[in-house]
């Protein structure tokens, strides 16, 4: 579903990510782990066509990020921790606004809305202006916007940042539920505990390079039951 080959991004003299090669299949959560500045956000921006690769290539749902950016965007949803939606619109208006870009109008939109409202338990957000919502409610709208069109690939970048314990729990449950629907999820975070819970496979990113890739259970074994220990060990070896 997602295929990156030698994906590289350079900004003038700085290298943000270099030579990334990985694959994520349908029904799989791939956790991209690393500290701040490791290149996680750049990787997801490359996959979502917001930035262009300096070298290498990537396919999302079979579409090339360089040559078919619109088709790539049509097949993915992106959520990051700093992402917000329009404060003066209601939850319903925000979702309707974005749904239109994916051709979801009229009955199709209402059906998509019912589905997402059930999945995220967000009935109360629909008629409320985003500016009047709690952080957790806002985050639900942000996520709903990203999955309303049921993208084959969902990219989550530090998506639990700033969330309270209930909202965080709801998000982690949602990630697993979305995976179970057969979609591919790339879950980028520096919080190893979250990855331990939701990931099927993990990739350790350090200074723009993928220093380790394997299944969650293999990584846990490597770190004697802790992804954090495994990460520190692999980064030390790199």
């Amino acid at each position: 579903m997602v295929q990156a080959e030698s994906l590289t991004k350079r900004y003038r003299k700085a290298v943000a990510v270099e030579g990334l090669t990985f694959r994520v299949g349908p029904g799989e959560v791939y956790a991209l782990l690393g500290p701040n500045g490791a290149g996680k956000t750049t990787t997801l921006r490359l996959l979502s066509t917001l930035v262009r690769p300096s070298a290498g290539r990537a396919l999302v749902a079979g579409f090339d990020v360089m040559r078919e950016p619109i088709e790539v965007r049509r097949n993915l949803g992106l959520v990051n921790g700093g992402m917000r939606v329009y404060e003066r619109l209601t939850g319903r208006e925000v979702l309707e606004f974005f749904a239109g870009f994916y051709g979801l109008k009229g009955r199709a939109f209402l059906q998509a809305l019912d589905w997402v409202v059930d999945l995220l338990e967000m009935e109360e957000t629909l008629d409320k202006k985003v500016g009047e919502m709690s952080t957790g409610m806002r985050q639900k709208v942000v996520i709903a916007r990203a999955i309303l069109h049921r993208p084959k690939v969902l990219l989550l970048d530090e998506a639990t940042a700033g969330l309270d314990v209930f909202a965080r729990r709801a998000l982690l449950d949602f990630v697993k539920a979305y995976r179970d629907l057969g979609h591919a999820v790339i879950y980028s975070t520096h919080v190893m505990g979250e990855a331990e819970e939701v990931a099927d496979r993990v990739g350790f990113l350090h200074r723009g390079r993928l220093v380790y890739e394997g299944s969650r259970d293999e990584a846990l074994a490597l770190g004697e039951g802790s992804l954090e220990r495994a990460f520190v060990r692999e980064v030390g070896r790199a």
């Binding site: 921006r45 917001l50 049509r74 619109l89 239109g100 870009f101």
Partner: protein, 392 residues
């Protein structure tokens, strides 16, 4: 195109849900323009009238009886003082007069703009001038000469402007000037909010991740900017019209730096075609300026930075219009209608005066459309620059 309309609508809904913003952008100009344009001159004319009717004390020294009488007849009260200049300097009298060696010296505090002192000095000068003319007339009568000897012929200046040009008065200059001011101030509200504002609030990334070509995102935001700019322009012109009506009813006009009030005397009588042409010209102008503002707004790191770009931009846009004041001295040629902004001002002036030719209209519209498309291209290019979009 549907995505363009979707973005356009969303931007405007967001703006119109901010009541304070709507009030300050669309309502306040209607209320403030009449006060701003005509209030000071109306207030001043009332003050001048009051000062002219009031009897003021004047310090005098060495004045003959006939001069004292002339001052009294001009509603002034002469008060003997050994040094009228000092008395005026110290602020004890608004004006003073001393007569020495056949010269009347009139003293006033004239360096601080229009004051009561100036008005009193004018009253003194008028009284002494009337006295002088009476004495000359008396001397002529004694010499047996007719009074006409002093004015062997008359001079009369007649305004030969075409009727529509005369009716337009200063509007030919004021209309484009205020249109640009209001188009900019109204447009920047949307332009800044839809670009740097979205970046700062973290909403832009979600929009850019949607399957919409960048050109449509830029166009949607630019059209929303244009719509708000035009609404703001209409509000400003409505305020100007209200001010004109107020001025016609109560007097007043534009205050000049010499303290004179210049009657606007402007009235617009446009046929349907000219009105449509004027609107299309304003639309193209707003499209051009809107695209520039969107490009500049997105380039900024933050809302504040974007706003800081808008003030110099306003000055830059107004600069060509200032030269419109001197159009009477210029030999206007066809290529002038290709100069950005200046062409719009020239065309609006010509449309109001009914003198626009098809060539002038064609040159202005075509060139402004090209400038607008170039600016839109710039906006799209800026939207495509990842180092700009993500630099905050």
């Amino acid at each position: 195109m549907e995505a363009v309309l979707r973005i356009f609508r969303k931007e405007l809904v967001q703006v119109f849900r901010d009541r304070k913003l709507v009030f300050s952008t669309l309502v306040l100009p209607v209320l403030l323009m009449p006060v701003f344009m005509f209030g000071p001159s109306l207030f001043l004319s009332r003050l001048m009238q009051g000062a002219a009717e009031k009897v003021q004390e004047v310090a005098v020294a060495g004045l003959p009886q006939e001069a004292l009488k002339a001052l009294e007849e001009a509603r002034l009260e002469p008060v003997p003082h050994p040094d009228p200049e000092k008395a005026v300097r110290e602020g004890r009298y608004p004006a003073g007069v001393a007569f020495r060696e056949g010269v009347y010296r009139v003293y006033g505090r004239l360096a601080s703009g229009l004051t009561e002192s100036q008005v009193v000095v004018e009253k003194v000068k008028g009284a002494l001038q009337a006295l002088k003319e009476a004495k000359v007339a008396e001397a002529l009568r004694r010499a047996g000469l007719p009074q006409e000897v002093l004015s062997p012929f008359g001079v009369e200046v007649v305004d030969a402007s075409p009727p529509r040009e005369r009716a337009g008065g200063l509007l030919g200059f004021l209309l484009p000037f205020f249109l640009v001011v209001f188009v900019l101030s109204g447009g920047q509200v949307v332009a800044v909010d839809a670009t740097a504002g979205e970046k700062e609030k973290g909403t832009l990334e979600a929009l850019l991740a949607a399957p919409v070509p960048l050109v449509q995102v830029a166009l949607g935001k630019t059209l929303a900017t244009v719509a708000m700019a035009l609404l703001s322009g209409v509000a400003g012109l409505l305020g100007l019209a209200l001010g004109g009506a107020w001025s016609a009813r109560f007097g007043g006009g534009v205050l000049t730096e010499r303290g004179e009030t210049l009657a606007l005397g402007g009235q617009v009588s446009l046929d349907g075609g000219s009105f449509l042409a004027l609107f299309l010209t304003a639309f193209l102008l707003a499209l051009f300026m809107g695209a520039v503002m969107v490009a500049l707004g997105l380039y900024a790191r933050s809302f504040k930075e974007a706003q800081s770009y808008m003030a110099p931009l306003q000055l830059l846009f107004l600069l060509p219009l200032l030269f419109l004041q001197f159009r009477g001295f210029l030999e206007i040629e066809a290529w002038h209608y290709l100069l950005p902004l200046f062409n719009v001002a020239l065309l609006m002036d010509a449309l109001l005066k009914g003198s626009a030719t098809p060539l002038e209209v064609g040159f202005t519209w075509a060139s402004t459309l090209v400038y607008a498309l170039l600016a839109l291209g710039l906006a799209v290019w800026v939207f495509g620059r990842e180092d700009v979009v993500f630099r905050n």
